[in-house]
């Protein structure tokens, strides 16, 4: 019984360590989005999908899944132990209660890990979206300063495109004189033209207003960031819940420890023998 007392003391000690301060200091494997910069042009809805797919491949996602499974198993075990409690003897009951407290402690530990991992996922997502937002804002600011130049350049491109056919038809640019770049330019231009047509005809191209309007894109990204913030706030509330759970488990463990100690006192109550009284030592001499 002395051993069980020590065990319970250790449980109380470990449970009390899961206080509010320790909750945030767990180390879990991180997730760094492996998304190429080209993907940034995607509309936010698709970007979110790509980001989620990237997360599913990460180590953090695997750990999250494993912890989730562990939590499910713990809850099942606690329910099973609770069902065993009514028909058990006093000694068995104490052991079952002991096991319940251990499982509850582990549940809190796993749940704490899970919440930290979820928070990390959301924070990484938030940083990612903030980065894109910053990039967009930076680009639009830059565009304003160089807008004149860009206007001139786009008009130059249009003028050049109008002349493409004329250049091709012009007899002075005969086949033998054409450079490698000239030939490749024509091939690539044709290919680009075909691709542009395909993009215009694509059903998603018309539906995606966000893709065309960068202001809407920033707004959509802001909405995602807001959603993430909300989820983080909910997780923080859950963390508080876990704290209270940890306190209840600690109190349960303390009560069980007291119960065990009280029972020990009652069971091992030895009436002290007074050897100073000759009446009490008669048996020593007679046997």
């Amino acid at each position: 019984m002395k051993n069980s007392n020590i065990k319970l003391f250790l449980i109380i000690l470990s449970v009390s360590f899961y206080s509010a301060n320790s909750l945030a200091q767990n180390n879990v494997n991180g997730w760094k989005p492996q998304i190429v910069e080209k993907m940034y042009v995607l509309p936010p809805k698709h970007l979110n999908k790509v980001l989620n797919n990237d997360f599913n491949k990460s180590l953090l996602a695997i750990n999250l899944q494993n912890t989730d499974n562990k939590i499910k198993n713990r809850i099942e075990k606690i329910s099973e132990l609770n069902s065993l409690l009514p028909g058990s003897s006093k000694e068995e009951g104490l052991e079952i209660q002991h096991q319940i407290i251990i499982n509850k402690r582990d549940y809190i530990k796993d749940m704490n890990d899970l919440l930290i991992m979820k928070k990390e996922k959301l924070n990484t997502k938030k940083i990612f979206f903030k980065k894109i937002e910053k990039k967009f804002k930076g680009n639009s600011l830059k565009n304003k300063t160089t807008s004149n130049f860009l206007n001139n350049k786009s008009s130059a491109i249009k003028r050049s495109q109008k002349l493409d056919f004329k250049i091709l038809e012009n007899t002075s640019y005969n086949l033998s004189k054409r450079s490698k770049y000239f030939k490749q330019y024509q091939i690539n231009k044709d290919a680009v033209k075909k691709l542009k047509l395909a993009i215009e005809k694509h059903p998603m191209s018309n539906e995606n207003i966000l893709y065309k309007d960068p202001l809407n894109k920033v707004e959509a990204i802001n909405n995602y960031v807001h959603e993430i913030d909300t989820e983080i706030a909910v997780l923080e509330m859950k963390e508080q819940m876990i704290n209270y759970m940890a306190k209840i488990v600690a109190l349960d463990a303390m009560s069980l420890a007291e119960k065990v100690a009280f029972d020990d006192e009652n069971n091992n109550k030895v009436v002290p023998t007074n050897f100073n009284d000759p009446v009490n030592v008669i048996s020593v001499f007679t046997n």
């Binding site: 160089t146 004149n148 008009s155 491109i157 003028r159 050049s160 250049i167 000239f182 330019y185």
Partner: protein
């Protein structure tokens, strides 16, 4: 003294080497354009020679003009030279401009700098 000189040379080389290696398309275009204009103004060569040389130069110039117009690198932090080049399309992109107007390269350039037949005819020779 020699050590200081060596060190400063190394330092200068390190500072200017990226600029030397990063000769952009607009620089190349400018170089080729200068060559073409030189040919137009060169009195020492025959008309036939000038024509054949200009044809070759025109091809190179066309390629370079297309490269410059379609280059995306120059969109990022365009230099003053680049901004001005696009502001004056007709003078920078001579081949494109001449094709647009349906005139020869030399005529397009001369007209653009104000040397038209009308302008020349209206001038008079006088002694000051």
């Amino acid at each position: 003294m020699t050590k200081i000189l060596i060190k400063s040379t190394i330092l200068l080389t390190l500072i200017f080497s990226p600029y030397a290696a990063n000769a952009n398309t607009i620089d190349n275009l400018e170089r080729e354009r200068a060559k073409a204009l030189n040919l137009i103004l060169d009195k020492s060569i025959s008309i036939g020679d000038r024509k054949s040389k200009l044809e070759k130069s025109k091809m190179r110039l066309l390629d370079l003009e297309r490269m410059t117009i379609n280059s995306k690198n120059i969109n990022k932090n365009p230099s003053y030279q680049t901004i001005k080049a696009f502001e004056k399309f007709d003078l920078t992109f001579l081949v494109h401009s001449s094709l647009e107007k349906g005139k020869s390269l030399s005529l397009t350039w001369l007209e653009k700098i104000g040397l038209t037949t009308e302008n020349l005819m209206s001038t008079r020779v006088s002694r000051k």
